[in-house]
């Protein structure tokens, strides 16, 4: 195979990974050094928008890094599309786990896909930093889903968020009557459970009703009927923003004035956009987006990537940066990279200090409360 073909294949890094890696190794003497990190998440299929948003943030981080360290390193991104589906993850993960050229993974985006990928990454000693897999069991060393030592996340897990959401949703409501429902997904059902247990610690709050609604639902009238019967004054939904937008419109159109609250699945500026005026006053817990961190950064992002930042962009940037800093420090083997991440002590772009616990959880994991005002989710500060 001649050099030219090698190079052109390497450019299409995702497509020609196998050959590309060969090329990188044969031309090792040539500076700058090419290294690979991967992003894993849904890049096609029904959940693709989440993955695309996250991957864009990772790409942005790499772009900045490559521009800055042109002389030393050329970091390439391997896009690993698992469609957010554990079945697909089980097919792609063995290849990634085996491919020693990949030093670390940002992702997987979803907890189910993470669990399916774990055995292969554990076997390959491949470090993972997920921007959005929040399932508690992933960092619970007693659980079969436990991801240690390779799994890390820069996002707060569900059992931190659940109580925060419970608190924030019921703020200023005395003797709150709460209706909780989820979208049957592996994200929403456990979160609903942690919200329920979190509510026990909120004085006077009671759960007056629950429902579990398939995530393809658009007609929420039965749920709304239940809410009306239960006379709830707070409604908490633990699913995702698109469903939440459909629901909140129908809830308001039915004449209900109950407070609506959601978790980080709902935390997305698309939510007020989709729901319009009905979203006003909705309470959402999450961790601030890129624009919330710095408008300048957001503007640069948009200029560089051509699109606005989306969901989990801060987390994805942080995760990518941890790996990139590791590369800069010369941790160009998997073992070194894993050790680097485990010992990492640095700053998030939000200014918080990132450190991982022994089980891979982020040190802070604080959730901010957001309220929709004039069509935008506005940060009202950390929920305490």
């Amino acid at each position: 195979m001649n050099k030219k073909i090698q190079r052109s294949l390497a450019v299409v890094s995702a497509a020609a990974l196998v050959f590309g890696v060969a090329a990188a190794q044969t031309s090792a003497n040539a500076a700058p050094k090419t290294v690979y990190i991967a992003y894993q998440g849904p890049l096609s299929g029904g959940e693709a928008s989440t993955g695309t948003d996250e991957q864009n943030a990772v790409k942005y981080a790499i772009k900045l890094f490559n521009a800055k360290n042109k002389a030393k390193y050329n970091v390439k991104l391997v896009s690993v599309d698992d469609q957010g589906d554990p079945a697909v993850a089980g097919t792609v993960a063995p290849g990634i786990g085996k491919n020693k050229a990949i030093l670390g993974v940002v992702g997987p985006a979803y907890s189910g896909a993470t669990i399916a990928s774990l055995p292969f990454y554990k076997a390959g000693g491949l470090v993972m930093i997920s921007p959005s897999a929040t399932r508690v069991s992933l960092t619970d060393s007693g659980s079969p889903d436990f991801g240690g030592p390779v799994f890390h996340r820069v996002v707060g897990k569900d059992d931190l968020q659940g109580p925060a959401l419970a608190k924030y949703a019921t703020q200023g409501v005395s003797n709150a009557k709460v209706f909780i429902f989820d979208d049957q997904s592996s994200y929403a059902v456990p979160l609903a459970g942690y919200v329920t247990s979190g509510l026990k610690k909120v004085a006077g709050a009671t759960v007056v009703g629950t429902d579990s609604v398939p995530n393809t639902t658009t007609d929420f009238s039965p749920t709304i009927a239940k809410i009306a019967t239960s006379k709830a004054d707070v409604v908490i939904y633990t699913g995702y923003y698109s469903q939440a937008a459909v629901f909140i419109k129908q809830l308001r159109d039915s004449g209900s004035k109950a407070i609506f609250a959601g978790g980080d699945g709902v935390f997305n500026q698309e939510f007020p956009k989709l729901a319009g005026a009905s979203a006003e006053g909705s309470r959402v817990t999450g961790v601030g987006g890129l624009a919330g961190v710095s408008t300048k950064l957001e503007a640069d992002y948009k200029k560089s990537m051509g699109v606005s930042s989306g969901v989990y962009s801060v987390e994805s940037l942080d995760a990518a940066n941890i790996l990139l800093q590791g590369i800069l420090k010369g941790n160009t083997t998997r073992a070194k990279m894993l050790a680097w991440v485990k010992a990492y002590n640095g700053k998030s772009i939000t200014g918080n200090t990132i450190k991982f616990s022994a089980n891979g959880d982020i040190s802070y994991g604080l959730f901010a409360g957001f309220t929709t005002k004039n069509g935008v989710l506005v940060n009202t500060g950390i929920v305490k």
Binding site: A14, P86, G95, I115, S186
Partner: protein, 345 residues
């Protein structure tokens, strides 16, 4: 039509086969098995799949699809019943493995017969009330069954609901062959063995009473019943055998993927498997094998057009069906071979 014969692989293959003596046939079979068995070692060639590792792709989707398509082919191809809920049996097998594998000391091979039995029982239970229905009505009822199985698993606590079940044990080694995470070639060989077993089963049944009964049912169910074929009984058998293969595939899959969740068992799987059957050539074992191989392999091979992958998949389905409606390798037409043989004699 005449031109087609030159590149008609089926007739070409059938010719060699028909004219071969027993030793040659045995040799052909053995050589083919060995060649296919060597596939996991060709990962470095043009066959390689980007991102996903080749040996993993050979196990799932390719091998599993072939196995399940052969199972579904008993139902759809042999006896002509449109089953859109085949994934249910796959799910039952997988959950049997997952639950027993994580809660008892039984290993994969010990759970295999249990998983198959559960799938078969489900097949009978579903078959008795519904197989009186025909055509599209049967299609929608089976489709509903597939969804019900998924939803029950999703909404129940014994199955850990949407969280799924992790840490499913891998199969224990078979003699010197060890199952490894990093290299899945032993899984591939096991799938291959299961495929061969299924093919053996289908071929054996096809030329005997059950095969004739299914064939009669497929072509004219009323005539079959009036000629004394107990149609309901044979339809249930067909359904149950298909279920058994699906259940077996499910057990092995759970033991290979190590983690299963309800979201893996959606209607899409049923439709994809059905597409494999029809795409390759409904009713013809080799057609089904080729169809499932192509449709299982293609999406992973063409990852470079990453985002438009499914779009291309859809287009391929439309185009192939339009130009080869009986599939890539249609049901064999024995008469042709017979007439040819007579002409030669």
């Amino acid at each position: 039509m005449k031109i087609r014969n030159y590149w008609n692989l089926r007739d070409y293959g059938a010719n060699i086969w028909e004219n071969a003596g027993r030793p040659v046939r045995v040799a052909i079979v053995l050589v083919s098995i060995v060649l296919v068995g060597l596939l996991p070692f060709t990962g470095g060639s043009f066959l390689a799949t980007p991102i996903a590792s080749f040996d993993a792709v050979l196990v799932y989707p390719v091998g599993m699809f072939v196995l399940m398509s052969l199972g579904l082919n008993i139902v759809v191809g042999k006896s002509g019943m449109l089953d859109l809920g085949y994934v249910a049996f796959f799910a039952i097998g997988a959950y049997t493995m997952a639950i027993l594998g994580t809660t008892t000391k039984l290993n994969t091979w010990e759970i295999m017969p249990i998983g198959i039995a559960f799938a078969m029982i489900a097949g009978v239970l579903l078959g008795i009330p519904t197989l009186r229905l025909r055509g599209d009505y049967l299609a929608i009822v089976t489709l509903g069954f597939g969804e019900i199985v998924r939803l029950v698993v999703l909404n129940s606590t014994w199955s850990k609901g949407p969280n799924g079940i992790a840490n499913i044990p891998m199969p224990p080694h078979i003699g010197p062959l060890k199952f490894e995470l990093e290299n899945q070639r032993v899984f591939f060989w096991v799938v291959m063995a299961m495929i061969l077993l299924t093919i053996w089963m289908i071929r054996r049944l096809s030329v005997r009473r059950p095969g004739r009964a299914w064939e009669a049912i497929r072509q004219d169910e009323d005539a079959a019943e009036l000629m004394g074929v107990p149609t309901l009984k044979y339809k249930i058998w067909s359904f149950t055998l298909g279920a058994a293969v699906g259940g077996a595939a499910g057990v092995l899959y759970a033991s290979k993927n190590l983690y299963i969740a309800p979201e893996m068992f959606t209607l899409n799987v049923s439709i994809l498997i059905l597409a494999c059957v029809v795409f390759g050539g409904i009713g013809n074992i080799w057609g089904v094998v080729i169809g499932a191989t192509v449709l299982g392999y293609l999406p992973d091979r063409i990852r470079f057009i990453s985002d438009a992958r499914l779009l291309v998949f859809g287009l391929v389905l439309v185009i192939v069906m339009n130009f080869r409606p009986d599939g890539l390798l249609p049901r064999k037409k024995r008469e042709k071979a017979i007439v040819k043989r007579e002409a030669n004699a």
